[in-house]
Amino acid sequence: MSVGGALAFAGSAAIMAALDGAARTLTAAPPALTLCAGAALVLLSMRAIAWRAFALAVIAGACAGLWLPNAAPSGPRDVGVRAPRGHVAADLFEALDMLDDDPSAFNRRIISVSGTWTPANARRAATVSRRVMSCCAADAIDVGFDVAPRGGARVRPGAWVRVSGRLHVRLRAGDMRYEIDDAAVRTAPAP
């Protein structure tokens, strides 16, 4: 593929990704920014190649952009316990901030937080977490709490849930973890 063709492909894919919502899911930048960058690439490449090659590259790019929402970012893998500063207002982040200042802040108290549900597997506990994306999905991080659900939670992975229970501070492999014990897990409407 020629330089102009590659740019037309990339520009067209970016425009489609901005229009079909993929850019909003995959990047932290406003989709309008991606749209403008894509449009600039298409306009620049228009002058560099023949019309037929240009049209083919644009159509192929549009197909790639339309397919992008099907590529799902990975679920939470390593859920951290420190919320980055300057986060949005959310119960989960505020609870983590309070615990960061004073790990005994919720001693013997019931805590209730909302976030994305990830069931337990052989290597780690179930978690309720929120994703913080500063640039793109590749460098997004997940922060939240380990959860020991009361009587097993029947919630699909990735669902938005509200978790209520008693908070305990535990050490796991040398790391401090916050675990919500005997937790009630209910699905909740996503914000």
């Binding site: 990704a17 960058a37 970012p73 390593d78 951290g80 590749a138 492999a173």
Partner: protein
């Protein structure tokens, strides 16, 4: 024909014998790669426009034009993806100035320092700035004594100017795409449990492969790593020693200067690991 047949057989075999999670991992890797390219796109395009404008500045008879471009690169408010645009112009400046500006702009841009301060506080921000200066100074010294730079010819006519811009854009996007592929692979195969207590050298290697955006590396460091030295080394290597930066330097300055920049960045990382 044989190679295509072998590839088709390999693909069929991979599809038939794929592990249960393979398609989820593949889909996540494609999403990660696309997100890197999409997130970088506006900065790369802005960088290319900035490069076009700085080329005009360079073509004028002004004594301090290269210093102005270097300052613009270091103080650019965007992320390090914009450096793709400035590198072409800096290739015509003195090698020491180009090396200093490119390394410092990658490792200690205003946006990255602001996010480092938000994530870690003042001490780590000062440490990052100091280590970035060390890496930049070492690179400047090394580049002034390493091989001739591969200069881009002057853009003297309109068609050539347009072609230069397109080539710059395509090369920059190609570099981002390659670095994105390395990052998606590193993320897919690196075990999350091993990251927390990673040694500084391993953190440097992981950062270099992952090549995160300069505004994202502090958040990744604070979330994934526990040891302060590993966090600092990860942030430095993510910007000075990463696949994206190395490809950029290779495209504009050649193999010898890329190797020199990598060695200097590794030296700064080692200093960070020892003295931080």
């Amino acid at each position: 024909v044989r190679a295509r047949l072998a590839l088709a057989c390999a693909l069929c075999f991979a599809c038939a014998k794929a592990p249960p999670d393979a398609f989820t991992v593949l889909s996540a890797s494609i999403a990660d790669w696309s997100s890197i390219v999409l997130a970088a796109l506006p900065y790369v395009v802005c960088g290319a426009f900035a490069a076009g404008m700085s080329r005009r500045l360079v073509n004028r008879r002004w004594r301090h034009k290269h210093i102005a471009v270097a300052l613009l690169a270091v103080l650019n408010p965007g992320c390090d993806c914009a450096l793709n645009g400035f590198a072409g112009v800096l290739a015509r400046a003195r090698p020491s100035l180009a090396g200093f500006a490119l390394t410092l702009a990658a490792a200690a841009s205003p946006a990255s320092l602001a996010v480092t301060y938000a994530a870690f506080g003042m001490r780590m921000t000062i440490a990052r700035t100091a280590c970035a200066f060390i890496a930049a100074a070492l690179t400047a010294i090394a580049w002034s004594s390493v091989g001739p730079t591969s200069t881009v010819g002057p853009a003297d006519d309109k068609h050539r100017h347009h072609k230069n811009n397109l080539d710059d854009l395509a090369a920059a996007l190609g570099g981002v795409a390659c670095a994105g592929a390395a990052a998606a692979a590193a993320k897919a195969f690196a075990p999350a449990e091993a990251l927390a207590h990673m040694a500084p050298a391993a953190a440097a290697l992981f950062g270099a492969l992952l090549s995160p955006c300069s505004t994202a590396d502090p958040l990744l460091a604070v979330a994934l790593l526990r040891d302060a030295r590993s966090q600092l080394v990860f942030m430095l290597a993510s910007q000075c020693l990463d696949v994206r930066q190395m490809l950029l330097v290779f495209r504009h300055f050649g193999m010898a200067r890329m190797a020199a920049a990598a060695a200097c960045a590794a030296g700064a990382c080692a200093a960070a690991a020892i003295f931080a």
